[in-house]
Structure formats: C-alpha cells, structure tokens
C-alpha cells in the first residue's frame, strides 16, 4: 500500500480535486489488501470485513483533501485500517473467537477452490492459527504479511513504539508457530 510511484501521487491529487474516477482508481488499487486484512482480522466474517472496508474507504474518500504528501497518505490509510478493525473488535468483543479451519478454507477466492485440497487445508490451518491470536498480535502480523511494512511504519499505524511492534511480532510469530504445530498433528 506504499504510495511511491508518480501515477499514484497523481491519482491522490485528482482525488483531492474531487475526481470520482480517481477515487475509483485509488479504491481499485488498495481494496483487495484492505479487504483481506479485515477479513482475516474478523475471522473470515464477510459481512464484518465488507463493512469495515467500506468504512475505511468512505473515511478516506471523504477526507482525502486533508492529505499532504505521499508518506502521510500511506500512514493515514494504514491507520484507518487499524482503527476500523480495532473499533469493530471492541464493539463486538463477544464475537471475538477463533474460527474453525474448515470454515476459514472458504475464505479464499472461489477461483482457488479447484486447487489442490492439501494446499487448501494448509491455508485453512494457517488462517485458524492466526484467528486464534489476540487482536494485538494478529494485526501486526497481517500488516507485515499484506503490506510488508517496516517496524517504523507499523509503529505509526499502530500508534506504539517500534520496540513494542517488534515485541508483539515476536510473540505473535512464536504463538503462531506453536498453534500451527498443534494443528498439523
């Protein structure tokens, strides 16, 4: 989601002028990553993920005029994703639960349903293990995986220190490895 190429910067500028087609291009460029993060964050709940993705882009589109420079834009977008997920998680605390691997196998794009069953089962296990992590460990892992952010960029998105990010990632990866090991048995 890092905004670096001149074309994307131009799109942001057009968005700031109110160009709806530019909004659409921006949405197209980022929608799948944002949706994937929200979907895995919300345990494969499509309705919750769709709602969160919509909220992220509505906030972004409505307020794009306040963006100043590319770094601020990418930071802002990551923060929107994190805040929207965490707000949703807080509102639905009772629904915070690890999902079933079989249920999570259905998250993948329908196009992948024809793929090898073993691979789908592996994917289901990884998703289930991820889903069982607490939100504070789940989110940094998703940001790293889908957005390939640095420690410093994640710290900005999560509003904590880079050291805290490193500690959470370390803890999350350890737990994930343990859970994957259990699920493989």
């Amino acid at each position: 989601m890092v905004v670096s190429d001149p074309e994307t910067i131009e799109i942001i500028e057009a968005c700031r002028r109110g160009d709806r087609e530019a909004f659409r291009a921006l949405y197209q460029a980022h929608k799948d990553k944002v949706y994937s993060i929200t979907l895995y964050f919300f345990h494969g709940d499509i309705a919750e993920a769709s709602d969160a993705t919509q909220q992220v882009f509505l906030k972004l589109i409505t307020n794009i005029g306040s963006f100043r420079g590319e770094a601020e834009f990418s930071t802002w977008l990551h923060r929107l994703v994190v805040n929207t997920c965490l707000d949703g998680s807080r509102k639905n605390k009772s629904r915070e639960r690890p999902a079933d691997p079989a249920e999570l196998m259905r998250i993948a794009d329908p196009a992948s349903h024809d793929e090898d069953l073993t691979r789908q089962q592996v994917a289901g296990r990884v998703q289930a293990a991820l889903s069982s992590l607490p939100p504070k460990l789940r989110m940094p892992i998703l940001l790293r995986y889908f957005e390939e952010l640095s420690y410093a960029e994640m710290a900005q998105a999560l509003r904590c220190s880079a050291g805290t990010v490193a500690s959470r990632l370390n803890q999350g990866h350890k737990l994930l490895a343990q859970k994957l090991e259990k699920l493989r048995r």
Partner: protein
C-alpha cells in the same frame, strides 16, 4: 540506518498461505451509493417556515472579528430552526436557540453538529490547525484527519482529536462531559491530560479541568466514587470504592489514577491493576510507581487492547 527502518521477518507463515481475497463488488457499489446520497430535504411548509421565522435569529452570526477579508469559512447547514446563515468565518460566533440545530462542515476533514442552546466560535482554520471554541452547549464532532489537527476549546479543557467521533457538552463555567464514540480524544488543560477512547466518558470541571475517564458501562458505584474523587474527595473509602468496582476494562480509569493519587495510594492502584491484568514485559513496578513516562506509555499501549 535505523534498525526499525528494516522490515521484520514474516514469521512462520509462507507466501501464499494467506491468499489475497478479492473484495466483493458490492462494497464499491455501497460506497458510491453513500457518496451520492444527498441529505434528505427538510420539510419546510409555510406554517413551519413562519413559525421558524418568528423565532428570528435562532441561528446567527453574532459578530465578525476576522482580521483578514479572506479569512477561511466553513459551510453551515441548518438541521432544525431558522436558516439564517450558510457559513462561519474565522472569528465569528454561531449560536443556536432552544429549537435550532446546525451542521458545520469542518474544512475537508469532517462535520460538527451544533445542538440547541449552543454557542461556538471558529478560532482557526489552516492546514495545520482547525479550532473551535465551545462556550456553552453541546456539539457532536465526526473527524477523520491526522491526529491533533482538530481542536475544541471549552472553559475547562481542550478536546484534541486523535481521529475520532465524539460529543462534548459544557456550561459556561466549564462543567461538562465528553463522550467518545469512535477512536480517541485527548482532553488537555494546564498540563493535565486525559486520554479517552471509544466507549468512554470524561467529565470536565471548572478550576480542575478534565476528570478521570471511565467507560460508560462501568458500574454506577464506580462512576459515583470517581465523581467524588474528581470533585476533590480524598476519603479512603472513595478510592477503595473505585478499586473494588474496577473490572479489567476499567484499567483505563486506574491507569489515569496512578498519576493523580499520592504515593501511598499509588501502590494500592498499582496492585489492583496488576491483579486485573499482569504487568507487561518492559514495565517494572519500580518504574510504574516512579511514574516513568516511557513505562506508563508502554503500559497504556498494552492495556489499550483490553479497552
């Protein structure tokens, strides 16, 4: 190169283990529909109009103080009452009476709904600061902008937006309450700060500024005891009542109390907090009781996941 500029390891997940999922087309359709939706036109029958007009100047700009003729202006739309103004400029006041409500569009970062019997003034509007004064009454702000860009001054605090939606009300003395519905707000006053997350309230008082934040679903005895504490109640049973009633989520309140009680009581607060939630790695008892800023910040960041 700073080590934190590096990308962390990906961990035990391999590329392809988490497939990128295509966002359903319905999301964009829904976004478009929302963007195209226009505010519902208000019914303005003749009688209603006459009635509204009779309450003359229900909403009005009281005076103009702007030093520059080109002072930035924010759009004002009337939600209820008499449509007598359509914008507010820097230095101007907007006032509603008992039957009027208005919506201010805050530059390009959000909206502020002005409730009845409210008086607000636009103090600044620039790329680095958008600032209102709420002299009395109630406003609801929905702002999506970088942190600390939107500020509301009241007689007993400044509400600093950290990316959020909230309601704040105050009387002319400064007594009032903040309720955050999304994100975070920092209430600041004379070096005093209360950090208020979504779902939490914080009272403000004249002379003492922001009180201690608490979740709206905290028990009534806790809220009553906290009100007594914020009013200057120092009886032992006041703090005891707060500690007894506190749940895991109420560590929000306890974290703020750490720096607001004397050293003896700080130990009691600390011990109750660690009973509720284990102390995270990197935060020691000694540092917490010494109110080491980095340790308290780190502790708050960990606790915030429980809020």
């Amino acid at each position: 190169m700073n080590q934190f500029e590096d990308k962390p390891p990906i961990g035990p997940i391999e590329q392809g283990d988490l497939p990128l999922v295509k966002a359903p087309d319905s999301i964009w359709k829904s976004i478009e529909a929302t963007l195209e939706a226009k505010p519902e036109p208000r019914r303005t029958g003749v009688f209603r109009w006459q009635w509204a007009a009779a309450s003359l100047a229900v909403v009005g700009v009281i005076f103009w103080i702007a030093t520059r003729p080109s002072a930035p202006a924010w759009r004002v739309s009337i939600l209820e009452g008499s449509p007598s103004v359509d914008k507010i400029k820097v230095g101007e006041w907007l006032q509603t009476d008992a039957s009027s409500r208005a919506r201010i569009t805050v530059a390009d970062i959000g909206t502020v709904d002005v409730e009845p019997n409210t008086r607000v003034r636009l103090v600044a509007s620039s790329p680095t600061e958008h600032r209102l004064t709420l002299a009395r009454g109630e406003i609801s702000a929905t702002v999506s902008a970088p942190p600390r860009l939107f500020l509301v001054d009241t007689p007993a605090s400044t509400a600093v937006d950290l990316g959020c939606a909230y309601k704040i009300k105050t009387d002319e003395s400064g007594d009032g309450v903040l309720r955050v519905t999304s994100g975070w707000v920092s209430l600041e006053w004379k070096g005093h700060e209360s950090l208020v997350p979504a779902g939490a309230d914080c009272r403000t008082r004249s002379k003492t500024g922001p009180g201690t934040p608490y979740f709206a679903d905290a028990s009534q005895p806790l809220q009553d005891a906290l009100s007594a504490f914020d009013s200057g109640g120092s009886a032992a049973n006041v703090l005891q009542g707060i500690l007894r009633e506190a749940r895991v989520r109420d560590t929000l309140t306890l974290w703020h109390l750490l720096s607001r009680v004397d050293p003896v009581d700080r130990v009691r607060v600390f011990e109750r907090m660690t009973e509720l939630v284990p102390l995270p790695a990197g935060v020691s008892r000694e540092k917490a009781l010494r109110l080491d800023p980095a340790a308290l910040k780190s502790w708050r960041e960990e606790l915030a996941w429980k809020w």
